[in-house]
Subunit: 250 residues, 8 copies
Amino acid sequence: MNNEIRHILEAVEAGSMSVDDALIKIKDEPFEDIGYAKVDLHRKIRQGSPEVIYGEGKTAEQIVGIVDMMLEHGQSPILITRFSKDKADKLAEKHDFTYSASARIGIVGEIPEADGIGTIVIATGGTSDIPVAEEAALTAECLGNKVDRLYDVGVAGIHRLLANREHLMKASVVIAVAGMEGALASVVGGLVDCPVIAVPTSVGYGASFHGLSALLSMLNSCASGVAVVNIDNGFGAGYMASRINHMEVR
Amino acid sequence: MNNEIRHILEAVEAGSMSVDDALIKIKDEPFEDIGYAKVDLHRKIRQGSPEVIYGEGKTAEQIVGIVDMMLEHGQSPILITRFSKDKADKLAEKHDFTYSASARIGIVGEIPEADGIGTIVIATGGTSDIPVAEEAALTAECLGNKVDRLYDVGVAGIHRLLANREHLMKASVVIAVAGMEGALASVVGGLVDCPVIAVPTSVGYGASFHGLSALLSMLNSCASGVAVVNIDNGFGAGYMASRINHMEVR
Amino acid sequence: MNNEIRHILEAVEAGSMSVDDALIKIKDEPFEDIGYAKVDLHRKIRQGSPEVIYGEGKTAEQIVGIVDMMLEHGQSPILITRFSKDKADKLAEKHDFTYSASARIGIVGEIPEADGIGTIVIATGGTSDIPVAEEAALTAECLGNKVDRLYDVGVAGIHRLLANREHLMKASVVIAVAGMEGALASVVGGLVDCPVIAVPTSVGYGASFHGLSALLSMLNSCASGVAVVNIDNGFGAGYMASRINHMEVR
Amino acid sequence: MNNEIRHILEAVEAGSMSVDDALIKIKDEPFEDIGYAKVDLHRKIRQGSPEVIYGEGKTAEQIVGIVDMMLEHGQSPILITRFSKDKADKLAEKHDFTYSASARIGIVGEIPEADGIGTIVIATGGTSDIPVAEEAALTAECLGNKVDRLYDVGVAGIHRLLANREHLMKASVVIAVAGMEGALASVVGGLVDCPVIAVPTSVGYGASFHGLSALLSMLNSCASGVAVVNIDNGFGAGYMASRINHMEVR
Amino acid sequence: MNNEIRHILEAVEAGSMSVDDALIKIKDEPFEDIGYAKVDLHRKIRQGSPEVIYGEGKTAEQIVGIVDMMLEHGQSPILITRFSKDKADKLAEKHDFTYSASARIGIVGEIPEADGIGTIVIATGGTSDIPVAEEAALTAECLGNKVDRLYDVGVAGIHRLLANREHLMKASVVIAVAGMEGALASVVGGLVDCPVIAVPTSVGYGASFHGLSALLSMLNSCASGVAVVNIDNGFGAGYMASRINHMEVR
Amino acid sequence: MNNEIRHILEAVEAGSMSVDDALIKIKDEPFEDIGYAKVDLHRKIRQGSPEVIYGEGKTAEQIVGIVDMMLEHGQSPILITRFSKDKADKLAEKHDFTYSASARIGIVGEIPEADGIGTIVIATGGTSDIPVAEEAALTAECLGNKVDRLYDVGVAGIHRLLANREHLMKASVVIAVAGMEGALASVVGGLVDCPVIAVPTSVGYGASFHGLSALLSMLNSCASGVAVVNIDNGFGAGYMASRINHMEVR
Amino acid sequence: MNNEIRHILEAVEAGSMSVDDALIKIKDEPFEDIGYAKVDLHRKIRQGSPEVIYGEGKTAEQIVGIVDMMLEHGQSPILITRFSKDKADKLAEKHDFTYSASARIGIVGEIPEADGIGTIVIATGGTSDIPVAEEAALTAECLGNKVDRLYDVGVAGIHRLLANREHLMKASVVIAVAGMEGALASVVGGLVDCPVIAVPTSVGYGASFHGLSALLSMLNSCASGVAVVNIDNGFGAGYMASRINHMEVR
Amino acid sequence: MNNEIRHILEAVEAGSMSVDDALIKIKDEPFEDIGYAKVDLHRKIRQGSPEVIYGEGKTAEQIVGIVDMMLEHGQSPILITRFSKDKADKLAEKHDFTYSASARIGIVGEIPEADGIGTIVIATGGTSDIPVAEEAALTAECLGNKVDRLYDVGVAGIHRLLANREHLMKASVVIAVAGMEGALASVVGGLVDCPVIAVPTSVGYGASFHGLSALLSMLNSCASGVAVVNIDNGFGAGYMASRINHMEVR
């Protein structure tokens, strides 16, 4: 940012740019305003990945509008999360894209080559946690990561997890997805030496209180090296894991 | 109870007992009323173990009074839980008894021989959970059980638990005591084939919410064969485990 | 487990087993991996009862797949909990099984002879608690227990409970199922001398907060010898009671 | 109120009262403003009992000031609740009064003769609930009620309660005071045919959450004819019971 | 109860009753067991009003069965609460009864003459609270009370309440029904000198948390003489008010 | 109010008004009682704006009835909030009015000229918050305010907010509408020097707990000059902002 | 801000400022960094009032350091909130200032003349709410407002509030301070036509949950024109009221 | 682990190791059991960093014992968290170590050279958050990281944060520490392109509910690339950041 302002200032000093033009330049909006949304077009430059569309609470029309505008500005791939089947059907009338019904994710454009440091391992406690895990997996793949899926390895049958220890040992980041008591995060956190992203899910009933139990469990993990995202936030975990997996020396 | 009433009725029929005496007998109170407390003296007969004195919220004088009265009626041993050091000092002026400061338990009288089915194993997640575990251990011993202590085997270093698997395998009941995320109960529950009593502790900080996190975790355990008692309720776990360990064919 | 490794090592020493074969043996997976699930086939050996299928959050196809695979490995009976009618209909196209719509339980295979220590008594506070009680009852029966049902004996009409005291007195384990204020567990806990498993239900409205009131009540029971499972967790109570009812001397 | 205005209006009509005097009369404040408090002096007329001083959060000086002013206006007896020992000592320097340290209640003036319809029975679950029960008892006595104390009759030993059924049967109102799981209210509610005021107490630990468990229990009572006051609100229960016990035909 | 046992004993003594008959008599069940329910037939004698059927969680068939059996035993009127329209339709195929769809209450049999001490005034904060108020009103009428309805007098327009002060002043009991912030109970409690039963409703949104806000408000009422029932529990309030309104000297 | 009573009293003194007429006048109800509602017709005089109809929990018939009566008394415009489409259709059969489906608001009568001190700026964190923002906007416009909409300026892309700083700087009041973590209120609060009304929305999932997260965030804002209304309460924010924007010297 | 950048640019264009100087100017920090704090010195210009020191969690040394630095930069008056007596004593060793022990507020420098639109009325429900009210009052006075205190006018004695209606009617803003059930805000909100800032206090016990009850009450106020600040946040209310009371036409 | 077993097996095959020795080796405990603790001595090998001593809930004697034993096994440096001053004094009698009273951290042994990928930036919202930030900073330094402290840059004065944007831009990981509304995490998350670890603190009062508000805020962050640790868990954040900052290609 700094350099840009310097260039503008130098141009003004050199007389090659008027004060008013400079003013506009400095205040130029790095987003497109389409009324109901201000789409962030500089995000790839600023944060290394394009804006993601959070589908819930937006009408199908709004989503189509945002996709149109992002495509116009050459943004690709475009990730749409919490994207219900019926809204996806509306988008399908206009654009080709990949859709996962269980993960409720749509991807417009090509999934890039994996270019991260290593592999992201995604483990789930049970079968019912798979939709959230898939949201994480598709997000991570969409952001250029190699993903290894390790499903149904909950701690009630600890041998299933231990038998897959080798997978875990090779991970550069682990995403631990679990509902109910969410103990998976702690056990995994104690086995590996890489960062662990814990995703509590709303799987369970009664005193699971829609994921609260797993959330608290994971926040209180007695294992070190574990950080937590929101309940059912597979996207957030995949995104965070990707950032970690794309660390660079500065 | 039924038989007793039958005997009374038969005595009345036989003329060997007057109606008024029968009335008194039937209504006879199986407890001693000392104003601030109605001490249950039939409990040993009714439930196999004497009444236990819950020390919190009672004055030292009240506790001494109840102990006096129980001793008078030949109750022994007497267990006093949540019994603070200063109240214990008051009791010590009058009676000999064993006191554990960390477990805040006092025991008046002899600890009986162990006569249960097998051994109760008490496992803790960490060192800080030991006071609650000791409350459970002393309670169980006081009720006639053999206890095996297995402390600091939390799931963040799962090898510590696995290395002690043999202890667990020999248990007739396991008491799993853990704070923070309370994952110990689930992992233990998945390893053993005997009943597991889970005790959440208030060990932790922040989002452990004074034991709520561990409590919810244990209630949502994905392992079967786990039941839970109140936060920090070592006594309750020891008592329940003892009941299980003294099961009889009926 | 220990013995098995010794045998393997002795075979290696004797030259009758290669290092690589030994390595495989030690690491051999006691479960079948079918992608979305890792079915635990050793559980009966390890824990005395086959794996149970938690139906919620699994598709009908996944359930059918798991059942197929368990039957292939000779597992029987197979218990499917939280099993909705429409999923059950899918399974019925392929397998014969018993289904209880109110308890939402399916049982594939024969219910075994009761071989426990005694009888499990299941009491409910009201009529609305019966579905949860039936989940417990069917689970317990499926695991080889004799069950005695004592429904609608809530404490607001304490004489109904007292009139059935004899049933309670003969129990080896009592399961107390109640919603609203869940006081049944405390009153029963004070009457019997066997272990009591308390199941809070979500029956109620307003400040029952979907079972929270009953849950807290039961956790805070002033009666000793009571342990609690998750809200509406009839299965968990039946399973725990069965473990207790099958205690063995070790 | 209506009549009073009529009299004023008639006086104005008759010319015996000026408009300005009438205005003052109508607007006359039925309370004394002493800056930090507006003491309600008409309450006895309006509501049948004098204002009560809630001691918590008031300085000793403020309490003395309010008492002074109430005595000046002939209010008696004066009830001071949540009145700590050290503040009471300050008041004792100036006025004679009765003080109960456990109930933290002070009473300035004579306790009146009991003139209610019948007897208020106050039952507690345990010994630790007695301070709250005493707050209720002293409040009720101070408001002209006969009180019958029935302490330590919790439901874990239901025979203690049943043995005292006669006391309950003679009550015109019952106040049920209990902490932990608060089941006393439901059982009592099912036994009697008079109104029951339930007082949850903060007695307990862990998942009692400072009285929340007992509060929810009592609100969800499956017995009819039970209403609830705030946690530890012995005063409120005593006051409500007194209102009921002083019902009049209108 | 006492007298009855005496009579039995005297009969046994006189030889006019055998021991076995006496035993049966003493243990005779004052309820009818129809499997899914144990209908309390002595309640009218014991508590002055017949058992009430809580419709939620019971099937239409179960409700019809209970009604049948109660009618057989001459119980009338029969009150059915939380009684949905479709279940009511089922009952209508067999019995005549009055049904209020908004209050979800059915009444089988005649509403008795009002025979209470005075009038029960039922006030609501808004129009949306009327269904709960009607549940209270119909319950109270069904139990023999005169009811005065005072709807939509919430405190945001305090003059509406003050203008109706006369109604309140004539009440023997007031039921204050309000959602949102539930302030009505406090303001009414400060105006009247009779008992006030407060009913929080789930009317509101956001931070009303389904009635929690109103519930807490009412429990913390700064006015004395207010007791609270469960959220939306119009029935409980009507029942409690009726008990108060039928107080008798003992 | 005072003056009015004086006039009445003077009229009585002068003999031009009888005592009974005066009594009626003083007690005259400033509202119309239509059974299910007491419509406040003096509110415009008392509070500067007509009563608003809260549509939830009222039947379409009740709403039509209230509108009829308000129109009869010349009240206009009439605002109906939380007004569902199907109820609105019922009203449309009888009256012309403007309806916003997303804001669920109906306005009967003309929207007045803006006559406030300045402009109310309404900012949202995201697109999904727009319905709540529109409820605020329409309310404010209906009450005579100029509104400037600034949507989708959430803090995750702070440059979008900063680029619109000029809008904010010109506001006389800002309404900040945001769900999820609700950080918008704090950032806006730190940028402007006018009052900020924060509206948490229920936009989000998992640990947003239906708006609780945003609500707590806003209440704990580290910026000064921020006050909060209920979750999703666009109406309340618009009303409050209007009151501020119509401040007058007194 | 815009103008400033324009001036800098024009200076650069005119050659009277070098690019590097311009760069520094644009990036010049409007705050002083003293390591543990970055004191905001431009706030008076930006937001019309100087930064306020939140005393809690800061050491006495840190507070003295910040005051020193602010005085150096000519900031006055300086408000220090949540300022404990012992920390205040430390500051007193170095600077003269006014201290209110009950409000825990310190003011360094002169309190300015009142220059707001009108008067801020601060009402409390009870005597115990006064410390929070005083925090609001002193804050408002310190920011140039006339304050009218109206203490102990809680709704349980509504006549005390109504008798002071005239005070309320003259307010330009009302701050309603109340604990327990917090009903004051709703009643006041229904009486006045100016903005109302509601401050819940932690006054109360049991189910007041440290102010939660009052907070929810106020957020759910059925009166319009009420917005809420954090529990016990007298400062925030005073600040917000001052902003409203200093509204200007733009 | 795999290789080790292979080596043992090969040794057995080669006859250079007996079966019994092999059995011992395989089962050899990688921890030292000192009764109250099982100190994990292989953790450095397994997870790249030595075990950390959680000081809370351990006696000074226990801590000294664990330190002794770790030093014996050559573990260094040793980090002791939540280490109170008085316990630290006990350790100081025996060992030299660095102690930070505000962060409550003790470090035995030398802090290693920083060898991570880049710099960890630790930002706080306010001055009161510094102790938690220091816990994170010292932990990270102790684990070989370069740390850049950026304190008191809360969002209420967003220019303070923006002015330090350059620091943020150079971070390899950012730790955002904030209490109250915790908005810092979202704003920082939107500015940087590296992973952000959010630490909610218990700084605040009232509705901050001891850090719950900040916790929820951070979990619901609308910015991507943010993961959260427990309230006040500076250690956890420092540890997680270090793991990320020591990522290696595998």
